[in-house]
């Protein structure tokens, strides 16, 4: 048995899974302390099932805690940045493009040193050990022990970053070091930004992962704890402590994967309709389609692997103004829907009221809506359908109709014959799709590298990329025979010779619970 937990800002959801069956689910308030929220949710789950804890093989946790910490700038550490690039990149140092106040708060010092690679793997300059040691001594003197290390073209070769990390670790006491190569793709600034953000979160990551572990211990659960990553695969709690940024997009990812799993639809569109917003994404082969664009977090450009999401201001609590034109959202009653909506005796007309007046749901007291003009209600209802249809259409890759899976509490807003949808599915347990998504135990390995197709041939290059990705998936804990290719992308590099092509490959397999226990 496994437990999936999703820690949101408002609620903590938990789902007990036995193989592919959802045994029991709960929703309980998150509260101030993440550990308490988890303890309450899992405790309630145990009470409901009467399950004995020894049967739990693993706990998987999805959380937006780290994202929120960074965006709210609460409890961030000071960071030193060591960049291997000289003689290149003198003109644009780390923190370029950051909001000034944020950079001032976290920038403990930047150390440009010689090194880095060209796209073809040749060294820009050899690594200079004494130069790095001198930088490390300066960090130690200044008491900087949160350190981000970046190198030019690190995704192609991470050797210099690793060597530099070893030198720094020997000199700086209790150093928490983040390597850019562990985090990102081509695009030095964005990858380095991700490493800096990660280093900034070191203290928070330690506190949160420890609190989660402690919560499980107190419940008597000895099973290993895993965290959901941005791409829907798992990492160990130790990895989450070292690489908290890898959880930044786990919320939408878990809802997409949970929706695909609960509905049994591997390829389709998922609309997660909450109280304030609707997030629409795509699952392909059961996995979220990733966005190709840079993602800005808290004002900082990153190149995290984030699901491609279209988010619109339509939710169950969205304020509605009747008339011509109809106005819906983005303001919302949010979690006060049960007090503010007219259906429940409030004075605010919401999208949920329109759904009830249009006969889409029988919750609340529909008599309270009797005074609403019928034609204007119809117009508002049509506008809600149109907003959803437009968002669904924007996320599609082709004009063909596709199945649409609805999850989240606001699914009642929508008609079952949306334009662009071949069919509409609201699966069981749709309200806790995120927690179910967290419990889908899969681990992956990824490669992002430039190959010279002319030298080794396309077939050989793709084979090498896949082999490397497979090895990384197995190293991460996947059962070798279950590993399969879920994503392969080729981007030819214009202007470069030798048929230079950037290949991204991702392999995913089932978590081998025996290996991790």
């Amino acid at each position: 048995m496994r437990i999936g937990v999703d820690v949101g800002g408002t609620n903590t959801d938990a789902a007990l899974m036995d193989g592919n069956d959802v045994v029991e689910t709960v929703k309980s308030p998150t509260g101030v302390n993440i550990g308490d929220g988890i303890a309450n949710a899992i405790g309630e789950l145990m009470t409901k099932t009467g399950s004995k804890t020894p049967f739990i093989n693993a706990v998987m946790l999805g959380t937006t805690q780290f994202t929120n910490t960074f965006v709210e700038r609460a409890g961030l550490d000071q960071v030193a940045v060591l960049r291997l690039s000289l003689p290149a990149n003198r003109d644009l140092g780390p923190f370029a493009g950051w909001p000034d106040s944020l950079a001032a708060a976290v920038n403990g010092g930047v150390y440009p040193v010689h090194g880095g690679y060209e796209y073809d793997g040749i060294e820009i300059a050899p690594l200079d050990e004494s130069e790095i040691a001198a930088a490390a001594r300066d960090m130690a003197v200044k008491g900087l022990n949160r350190i981000a290390i970046s190198s030019v073209f690190a995704p192609i070769n991470d050797a210099m970053e690793k060597t530099a990390a070893d030198i720094v670790a020997d000199i700086v006491p209790e150093a928490a070091i983040t390597l850019s190569s562990r985090l990102g793709r081509i695009g030095l600034l964005e990858r380095e930004n991700a490493a800096i953000i990660n280093a900034v979160l070191a203290t928070t990551a330690k506190r949160v992962t420890t609190a989660c572990q402690d919560a499980l211990s107190e419940l008597g659960i000895e099973a290993p704890l895993f965290f959901s990553q941005n791409d829907g695969t798992l990492m160990t709690a130790a990895d989450a402590r070292d690489y908290p940024v890898r959880t930044f997009a786990s919320g939408p990812t878990n809802s997409l994967r949970g929706a695909a799993f609960l509905s049994g639809i591997e390829d389709g569109i998922v609309a997660d309709i909450g109280g304030t917003t609707t997030d629409v994404g795509v699952v392909a082969g059961g996995f979220p389609r990733q966005s190709g664009l840079a993602v800005e977090i808290g004002g900082v450009q990153t190149n995290f692997r984030m699901p491609d999401i279209v988010s619109i201001g339509l939710g169950g609590g969205s304020h509605v103004e009747l008339g011509d034109p109809v106005r819906i959202g983005p303001r919302s009653a949010g979690h006060r829907l049960m007090e503010e909506a007219m259906l429940f005796g409030g004075t605010q007309l919401t999208a949920t009221d329109i759904a009830a007046a249009a006969g889409r749901t029988d919750i609340g007291d529909r008599d309270r809506l009797a005074s609403l003009p019928e034609d204007e209600v119809r117009a508002a209802d049509r506008h809600i359908q149109l907003m959803a249809e437009t968002a669904i259409d924007r996320i599609k890759t082709s004009a063909d109709p596709a199945p649409v899976i609805l999850v989240g509490g606001g699914a009642i807003l929508l008609s079952h014959d949306l334009a662009g949808a071949s069919r509409l599915i609201v699966p069981d347990h749709a309200a806790v799709a995120n927690a179910v998504g967290a419990a889908l135990a899969q681990v992956g390995g990824e490669v992002d590298q430039v190959f010279a197709f002319d030298a080794i041939g396309r077939e050989q290059a793709l084979k090498e990329a896949c082999t490397l990705a497979r090895e990384r998936a197995v190293a991460a804990g996947a059962r070798a025979r279950t590993v399969e290719l879920v994503d392969l992308e080729e981007v030819p590099l214009t202007y470069l010779p030798g048929g230079a092509v950037r290949v991204r490959a991702k392999m995913v397999g089932e978590l081998d619970l025996e290996k991790t226990a």
Binding site: A88, L92, Y119, L293, R394, A399, Y495
Partner: protein, 384 residues
């Protein structure tokens, strides 16, 4: 931008942080979908401005005939420039080497292109060296090859082309054939690992007056400001087109070619270019579908009745909600866009100019027709 000070020759171009953002937006507009994303260029410019210094911007009209100016910019693969940024020190070294090579000092720096990342580099060099910057470029947009500039079309040599890399290593290419310089230059860029800095087209003041496309740097800034102002309008693209026609580029013709949704993108890479087409389903069914062909930059917008705009006129794709230009690499199915055209000055439409960067120069089976004729609702000639 503050009121220009007149200090003899040229005016001091004081760019605020907002202006820099606007300039990068405008450069992205003039990139016509290509030219490399100016984001890195914007950051380089911001960090150079933070060190102080001002840009002395000289109108083409005020340039003394005996001045010596030269173009400068980055050359390479956009992907490489995302890891190894344009090196301003190397670009400066290239200018100094040119001075040594020619045996005289430069009086000003020139932009080769006003679209994409290379629009920003001459500004940064002007800040760093104190050399005046001339308000012009060689194409009024972005183009992929170094002979596709008005300097070449009107008889001036790109020679010597001097490349300098991060290590200060350099290559000087001299030839009387600009196309050969382009070919040899590609080889050097490859040898310098796909990204380097260069200077080329050393021109006299008289040559600049004769051959440059005028006012394009200030135009990029004004277009950027227009895009910023239009961002919150109900229909940003419409606001941008209106602003171009009435105010920012009133000597040119701007038109909204169509508005709708991208329903197909077909990309492939051949000959070192990203080529392909996008199909736009227009909001008003009677207008569509519109095919946009690109080779790094957008080259042709083709409606059901025939062409709506073609190279060298600017064809720019804007996000319909924000009015922000979309690069060809990031076009995707489902994006709501508006397609906008902007005419180029007469000097870019002469037979000798069209021979170098007209539709047929890009392998398109169309004779050039000006944007204002195509978008005036006259029935375009049938296309075989």
């Amino acid at each position: 931008m503050n009121a220009p000070h007149n200090h003899g020759l040229g005016r001091y171009w004081e760019l605020s942080a907002d202006d820099v953002r606007a300039f990068a937006l405008g450069a992205s507009f003039m990139g016509c979908g290509g030219g490399g994303d100016p984001y890195i260029g914007r950051l380089l410019l911001e960090s150079e401005l933070a060190k102080g210094g001002t840009i002395r911007l000289v109108d083409v009209e005020d340039v003394p005939d005996d001045w010596l100016a030269a173009g400068a910019g980055a050359a390479g693969a956009p992907t490489v420039l995302l890891e190894r940024f344009p090196n301003i020190g190397a670009a400066e070294t290239a200018l100094r080497k040119l001075e040594t090579h020619l045996g005289r000092k430069l009086d000003a720096v020139l932009a080769g292109e006003s679209g994409g990342i290379n629009a920003t580099i001459p500004l940064i060099l002007a800040l760093r060296t104190g050399l005046p910057l001339i308000d012009c470029d060689g194409m009024g947009r972005a183009f992929p090859e170094l002979q596709m500039v008005t300097f070449n079309i009107y008889g001036y040599s790109a020679s010597p082309l001097i490349f300098v890399d991060d290590h200060g290593d350099s290559v000087i290419i001299e030839s009387s054939d600009n196309r050969k310089i382009e070919r040899l230059g590609r080889q050097v860029i490859i040898g310098m690992h796909g990204g380097t800095q260069g200077t080329l087209y050393p021109l006299s003041g008289a040559a600049v007056k004769h051959a440059a496309v005028r006012g394009t740097l200030t135009l990029a800034l004004e277009i950027g400001k227009l895009i910023q102002k239009a961002r919150h309008a109900d229909d940003p693209a419409e606001r941008i087109v209106a602003g171009l026609n009435t105010d920012v580029a009133s000597d040119r013709h701007a038109a909204r070619l169509c508005a709708g949704k991208i329903v197909d993108v077909d990309r492939k890479t051949s000959g070192g270019f990203s080529r392909g087409y996008a199909v736009i389903e227009c909001a008003t069914a009677s207008d569509g579908p519109v095919h946009v062909q690109f080779q790094n930059e957008h080259l042709l917008a083709l409606g059901p009745e025939g062409p709506l705009a073609m190279v060298p006129d600017l064809i720019v794709m804007l996000d319909s909600e924000t009015g922000v230009p979309i690069t060809a690499e990031t076009m995707r199915y489902g994006q709501r866009i508006a397609l906008v055209g902007l005419s180029v000055p007469a000097m870019m439409r002469t037979p000798e100019a069209l021979a170098v960067f007209g539709p047929r120069a890009f392998g398109l089976d169309h004779d050039y027709q000006p944007l204002e004729r195509l978008s005036a609702g006259s029935s375009p000639a049938a296309i075989s």
